[in-house]
C-alpha cells in the first residue's frame, strides 16, 4: 500500500517534470520578451523625466500618471483611440460576418476566390497596402475622379485626412483576420441546427439573431478583441492616412519616445493604452458570456 503510494507519487513527479519540460520554452520566451519589458515599462513610467541617461536609482513617482489623467487633452486622445477601435470593430464585424458566413456555405471557385481575397492582404506589405489606399483617397485621386466622372461630386473632397478614411483603412487591414476567425466558428455550427430552426418556422434574420450569434459568440469576441487591440495600437495607418497630428495614443507615444525623448512619459502613455485594451477585452468577454449564458451550456 505504502509502496504503491510512493510509486504513484514518483509517477506524478515524473509527469510533472515532463510537463515542465514541455512548457519551459514558451515560459522562457514569455519571461524574456514579455514580462521583463513590461516590468521595465512600468518602472520607467514611475520615474520623472530628466534629460540624459536613465538613472537606475530614480525615486518612484506617479507624476506622469497625474499629468496625463488630469489633462483633458490626453483624456480626449484616449477617448479618440477607444472610439477608433470601437468603430473599426463594428465595421469589421458587420462586413466580416456575412462574408465568413457565405464563405462557409460556398464551394468551388467562390470559396477559393474569397479565401485568396482574404489571405492576399495579409501577405501584402502593410506600407504598400496603406500607400495604395493613400493614392485612392488623394484629392483628385482614383475615387475622386471616378465620382466626378459619374457626376456625383464636384470639386475636391477631403478624404485623405478624415477619420472615416482612417476607420476604412483600419477595417480593410484587419478584416482578413476577423473573417478567418469567424469562418472557423461559423463552420462549427452544424447545418442541422439551422435546418431545425428553419423547419420550426424561423426567418433568416431570426436564425441569425437567436441561433448563429449566440453559437458563434466565442469567434465574435475573439475577432473583436484582435481587431480592437490591433486598431488602437496601430501607428502606421493613422500617421499615413490621417496624418501626424491625429490625436491617438500610438502617435503620441512615438512622438514622446523618439522626438521629445521623454521616455517616462511615453512609457506611461503605453501603459495606459495597455490597461485600456485589457479592460475592454475583459469586459467584452464578461458581457458576451452573460448575454449567451455561456458556461451553463456546452455545444452538443
Amino acid at each position: 500500500m505504502a509502496e504503491g503510494t510512493a510509486t504513484r507519487v514518483t509517477r506524478a513527479g515524473e509527469s510533472m517534470r515532463g510537463w515542465v519540460l514541455f512548457i519551459a520554452p514558451i515560459v522562457l520566451l514569455l519571461i524574456v520578451f514579455f514580462v521583463v519589458p513590461l516590468v521595465d515599462l512600468l518602472s520607467l513610467s514611475l520615474t520623472e523625466h530628466k534629460p540624459g541617461p536613465r538613472d537606475p536609482n530614480a525615486a518612484l513617482t506617479l507624476v506622469n500618471f497625474v499629468k496625463i489623467l488630469g489633462d483633458p487633452f490626453y483624456l480626449a486622445m484616449a477617448g479618440n483611440s477607444l472610439l477608433l477601435g470601437l468603430l473599426t470593430v463594428i465595421a469589421t464585424l458587420l462586413i466580416g460576418y456575412p462574408v465568413a458566413f457565405y464563405l462557409t456555405r460556398s464551394s468551388g471557385w467562390e470559396r477559393t476566390l474569397i479565401s485568396v481575397a482574404c489571405l492576399l492582404p495579409i501577405f501584402t506589405n502593410l506600407i504598400v497596402g496603406i500607400l495604395g489606399w493613400y493614392i485612392l483617397l488623394l484629392p483628385f485621386g482614383v475615387f475622386q475622379q471616378l465620382l466626378s466622372a459619374l457626376g456625383l461630386v464636384d470639386g475636391p473632397i477631403q478624404w485623405i485626412r478624415s477619420s472615416s478614411a482612417l476607420v476604412a483603412v483600419l477595417t480593410y487591414e484587419h478584416l482578413p483576420f476577423a473573417i478567418l476567425i469567424l469562418a472557423s466558428t461559423i463552420q462549427n455550427v452544424p447545418q442541422d441546427k439551422i435546418n431545425a430552426a428553419r423547419i420550426l418556422g424561423a426567418s433568416m434574420p431570426r436564425i441569425v439573431w437567436s441561433l448563429m450569434l449566440p453559437l458563434t459568440a466565442p469567434g465574435l469576441i475573439a475577432s473583436a478583441i484582435l481587431v480592437f487591440s490591433l486598431s488602437v495600437s496601430s501607428y502606421l495607418i493613422p500617421i499615413l492616412i490621417a496624418g501626424p497630428r491625429t490625436q491617438v495614443l500610438p502617435i503620441s507615444i512615438f512622438s514622446y519616445s523618439s522626438e521629445l525623448l521623454n521616455r517616462p512619459m511615453a512609457s506611461t502613455l503605453a501603459f495606459i493604452l495597455l490597461v485600456m485594451v485589457a479592460a475592454c477585452t475583459y469586459s467584452a468577454v464578461l458581457v458576451a458570456n452573460r448575454l449567451t449564458r455561456r458556461g451553463s451550456w456546452e455545444m452538443v
Partner: protein, 372 residues
C-alpha cells in the same frame, strides 16, 4: 336516422398529406432520385428503407424543402409545394443529430417553434409542459441539452417537432445514435406517441428492424427508385426481388431452372427438384428463388420430413441465446437455418450430419434471375 346526403369524406379516399409525383433529383450529373412516386395518407406511418446512397435522405430533404427537385411535383395537403420554403411547410422534423439548440434550455428548445408561429405566450408554457409530459421529460424543463443523456435529448427533439401539432412528421434516422436497448424502447415509444397524436410520419432509416416494427407501410429503396412498397408483413413475405428479400430479413437465394417434367413445369436448383407453390413460368428459363432461414427445419440425419428435404452437415453454429443460426453444407452450397434451442438438448455441433426440410409454401419466387 339516416342522413339523405352522403358524407363526401366517406366516399373519397382520404386526401394524402404528402404526394410526390415523378420527382427527379440529380447531383453533379448523377441521378439520385429517378421519377419517384410516393403518397402518405393522414395518420399513416411510412418508412423509407434502403442502404446508404439509395436516395432516401434526399427524398426527406426534398419534402422538408432543404433541397429543390429538378423535376416532378411535391404536394403537401393537396397544394403544390415545390417552391415553398421550409419555414412555411408546417412540418415537424427530428434530425439524426437531434439538432437541439445547445444554448437554450429544454423548455426554450420546445417553445421555439410555438414562438415562431405566433402562439400567444400564455398558451406556450401549457403546451410545452403537456408535450414534455408526453415524452416523460416533465422534470427536465430547466436543463440544457448537454446535461441530458442521448435518449433524453432525442425525446426533447421529438417534443420540439410535435409541439406545433404538424400533420406530417419527418424522422431522419432518429434512433441511430442510441444504444441497442434504448433503441428498442424508443421504437415502441415513438410508435405509441405517433398513434396517439395521429400524425402522419415519414421515417428514413437503414435499419430493417426499425422499419418493420414502426411502419404501417414501408418502401424499400434502391438506386433512386422504390423497389417494393407495402405493409411490413407483405414486403417481408412477398419481397418480389432478390434485393428486397435480402435487405429485409435474411434469406437463402438460389438460382433455379424451370424445366418441364412430365408435362408440368418444375424448379431445379442444380440437381435438386424444388417443390414450390405459385405460378411458374411456362417457358423454360431461370428464376431466382429464396427460402428464409426461419422457415427451414433442422433435424438429425434422416429425421426431417417435408416437401423439400436435403441432407448435409453443419459447417458453423452461431448461438444467439433465444435462437441458433446454423450454416449447413449441402453439396457445394451453404444454407442458413434458424433453429430454436430445445430444452434438454444440446445444439448441433460443427460436423454433425443433419437433414433440413422446408415446405413448398416457404419457397419465395423472385422476379427475374436470382442475382444474390
Amino acid at each position: 336516422m339516416s342522413s339523405p346526403t352522403v358524407n363526401a369524406s366517406e366516399l373519397d379516399p382520404p386526401r394524402p398529406i404528402l404526394k410526390l409525383q415523378r420527382v427527379r433529383k440529380t447531383f453533379q450529373g448523377q441521378v439520385v432520385l429517378d421519377d419517384l412516386d410516393l403518397e402518405i395518407g393522414a395518420g399513416e406511418f411510412l418508412s423509407l428503407l434502403g442502404p446508404s446512397g439509395c436516395g432516401k435522405t434526399t427524398t426527406l430533404n426534398l419534402v422538408a424543402g432543404f433541397l429543390k427537385a429538378d423535376a416532378g411535383y411535391i404536394s403537401l395537403r393537396g397544394a403544390l409545394s415545390n417552391e415553398l420554403p421550409p419555414q412555411k411547410r408546417k412540418l415537424g422534423m427530428v434530425f439524426q443529430s437531434y439538432a437541439l439548440f445547445p444554448h437554450m434550455t429544454v423548455f426554450d428548445n420546445v417553445a421555439y417553434g410555438l414562438h415562431r408561429r405566433g402562439v400567444p405566450s400564455g398558451q406556450v408554457s401549457d403546451r410545452v409542459a403537456a408535450m414534455l409530459d408526453l415524452v416523460r421529460l416533465g422534470q427536465a424543463q430547466g436543463k440544457y441539452p448537454s446535461q441530458l443523456s442521448g435518449g433524453m435529448q432525442q425525446r426533447v427533439a421529438l417534443a420540439r417537432a410535435l409541439v406545433t401539432e404538424p400533420d406530417l412528421l419527418l424522422l431522419d434516422e432518429p434512433l441511430s445514435n442510441l444504444d441497442a436497448a434504448l433503441r428498442k424502447d424508443m421504437q415502441v415509444e415513438i410508435k405509441h406517441i405517433q398513434e396517439r397524436l395521429k400524425v402522419a410520419t415519414l421515417l428514413v432509416t437503414h435499419s430493417q428492424e426499425e422499419a418493420l416494427v414502426m411502419s404501417d407501410r414501408m418502401a424499400v429503396m434502391r438506386g433512386g427508385r422504390i423497389e417494393r412498397i407495402g405493409p411490413p408483413h407483405t414486403v417481408y413475405s412477398d419481397p418480389r426481388t432478390a434485393f428486397v428479400c435480402t435487405f429485409v430479413g435474411d434469406a437463402n437465394l438460389f438460382e433455379a431452372r424451370v424445366a418441364a417434367h412430365e408435362g408440368t413445369p418444375r424448379l431445379m436448383v442444380g440437381d435438386w427438384a424444388v417443390l414450390a407453390d405459385g405460378p411458374l413460368p411456362e417457358q423454360a428459363g431461370t428464376l431466382g428463388i429464396a427460402v428464409r432461414p426461419e422457415h427451414i427445419a433442422i433435424a438429425p440425419a434422416g429425421m426431417a420430413s417435408g416437401d423439400n428435404v436435403l441432407s448435409g452437415s453443419v459447417s458453423d453454429t452461431i448461438f444467439k441465446g433465444s435462437n441458433i443460426l446454423y450454416e449447413v453444407r449441402v453439396g457445394d452450397r451453404d444454407i442458413l437455418v434458424l433453429g430454436l434451442p430445445k430444452i434438454g438438448e444440446a445444439p448441433f455441433a460443427r460436423g454433425d450430419a443433419v437433414s433440413i426440410a422446408f415446405s413448398r409454401k416457404a419457397v419465395i419466387l423472385l422476379a427475374g434471375a436470382g442475382h444474390g
